[in-house]
Subunit: 352 residues, 2 copies
DNA sequence: CTGAAAGCGCTTACAG
DNA sequence: CTGAAAGCGCTTACAG
């Protein structure tokens, strides 16, 4: 029989590299292993003194219950899978931070998978989540939803789409009110007197791009200006794409005096292109972004943008999952309002 | 008996919400469940036709082996735990992206835990990894290493410290050559003629801060200038801290003409503070950062910095883990060289 | 209050 | 080539 001393000598480990199991603790405490299980889980059915003694022994032995064994019998893993398109995108990182925070508070561990916007990989990743028997899945900003939504439907695991590009009445989702937020952002520009306002979109943005374009268009038309297709150019949601789009816009015979960008990352590129041409922000061109990423306020001038509460949205997605796991039936469609943050990159149009 | 049709009707699921198990497939294929196991794992001991038939049935039934059951018997989970201090930090996100990439390629899933630099939470997180029986752990930029290094030593799970703050000859680590990189960065400034060069550190940076300070100091002294303690101010590794530190420096009777910052995030704050005082970059003050985050090149002027190959470092950490899991005994201490990237935020000192 | 038994879903010797 | 048995580490009725 293994003595207490022996176990303490190499905490949590037995000879042969085996981790201490509930049976080892049972042997040390001279009780049956079910009793150990009950004691450790705080069951009222075990005598308090016995329970205390067992807990002490388990503690000394550095015992840690095996989550795998537990999930096998419990039928749930206390695990959620998070699929992202790119963890290095600050928006995504903010969302994940919020998800992880709430998950940890509720005893859930999170699997992170980065699809890199590769459809095949995204499917592979979801499959691996299925094998891991995750209790739920959160998908952020997926660009290939159409491809694997059917895969997920077969999984019978609750899924929450965050900033999803393929919304559905039947899917749970957390999303910002893109139309309203973009309307507000663009109206801010029309109110500053701008009439030639461009939109730099994200060609991978699907639904959110469509909605932001719609809000933009509504504000433009509401200002009494006709919508001009030439003022809408799509980038890739990254600085590079924003820069190219801006370049194209500035070469127009009648270039815009203001630009509303799909996101701050695109705006970053647009800003650089404007400066590269010797134009000033906001005197020559006003720029509005979307997201309110941390660096906005450190740009010169600071970027006017629409705040998207990333962390909070991550929280909400996890919260939704918890409610569904708690038995709620109806699908949740949370729509968060955006908030226009006016800073130095926008100004009244110069008379031309 | 459950018919094939029935199963296909609700792929992967049986009545009662149970997922199809190996036994269900065995029943459908009229073989024993060990045979199913062998067929699915591609064992050569099963007749090819039988294997094919079983695989087809499993496929149709949407069968996915349970990772939990498998790890229980195999003794490994094909899982790694990644502890970060803050996933919203772009450096950390870049590293995680690299880790996840290589992990996925090798069939490993990654658990992500964000400690938020909270020591208690960090310990809790490591404990949960222990229960999950992760095969290895990677810790990024931990500020509280001292607190839980002992905890990890008890776990008997290989640990790789990335950009760790409490290095040890006995721990595996991946780290940039901080001293050399900082020396190069600072020498770049001395070569531009600067003699009043400040260092904005990270008071939470421990080892890396100490090393960067050392490299800075060596370059300063090598230029024939005496080290001046007043030119060293510590921030918190974030823009706010960098801004405050810069403010303090600019109020010196004899302010610096150049600053070397612990990281780009600190530099972001320093840049703003410099501009806030009506000074120009680089004409009045030259600034060098560290990390080469994505936004550097979009700043005006673009930031001179030391490139830290974040993604590659993540790769290396995972690679190290894989080698150890593959049986290698010796500890790995990978030191990556940094690369000075000269951009517009540094210039020759004006004659004063 | 405590223990013996059964079972979660797999894999791997061991027989045949 | 295939199956019966045992076991990985837990939990939960079921007896006592």
């Amino acid at each position: 029989m293994v003595g207490v001393k022996k176990l303490v000598g190499s905490v949590g480990m037995l000879a042969g590299g085996r981790k201490a199991s509930i049976k080892d603790i049972a042997r040390l405490a001279r009780v049956s292993h079910p009793t150990v299980s009950r004691a450790l889980r705080g069951s009222p059915k075990v005598r308090p003194e016995t329970a205390a003694r067992i807990r002490k022994i388990a503690e000394e032995a550095g015992y840690r219950p095996s989550a795998a064994a537990r999930s096998l019998v419990m039928g749930r893993s206390l695990t959620v899978g998070v699929v992202v398109t790119n963890i290095a995108d600050p928006f995504v990182a903010g969302v994940v931070s919020g998800i992880e925070d709430l998950a940890e508070q509720h005893g859930y561990s999170v699997f992170l998978a980065d699809s890199n916007s590769d459809p095949e990989r995204e499917v592979r990743v979801v499959r691996s989540f299925e094998e891991r028997r995750v209790d739920g899945i959160i998908v952020t900003s997926s660009r290939v939803g159409a491809l694997y939504v059917p895969v997920m439907e077969q999984m019978h695991v609750p899924v929450v789409l965050l900033n999803n590009q393929h919304p559905s009445e039947f899917a749970n989702s957390v999303v910002i009110d893109n139309v309203e937020a973009s309307f507000a952002a663009t109206r801010h520009l029309t109110q500053l007197g701008h009439r030639r306002i461009a939109y730099i979109g994200d060609r991978f943005g699907h639904q959110s791009d469509t909605d932001r374009l719609a809000g933009y268009r509504r504000a433009v038309e509401q200002s009494g200006t006709e919508f001009a297709a030439e003022l809408v150019v799509h980038g890739d949601g990254k600085p590079e794409g924003g820069e190219q789009a801006m370049s194209q816009l500035l070469e127009l015979p009648n270039p815009p005096t203001a630009v509303f960008c799909y996101n701050d990352m695109s705006a970053l590129g647009a800003l650089r292109q404007i400066r590269a041409r010797g134009l000033r922000i906001p005197q020559d061109v006003s720029v509005v972004g979307f997201d309110d990423l941390f660096f906005d306020v450190y740009l010169d001038p600071p970027l006017t943008t629409v705040r998207q509460p990333m962390r909070q949205m991550g929280h909400m997605a996890m919260e939704t999952l918890l409610q569904i796991l708690g038995g709620e039936q109806h699908t949740h469609n949370v729509k968060v309002p955006g908030e226009l943050i006016i800073r130095g990159s926008t100004a009244i149009r110069k008379g031309n």
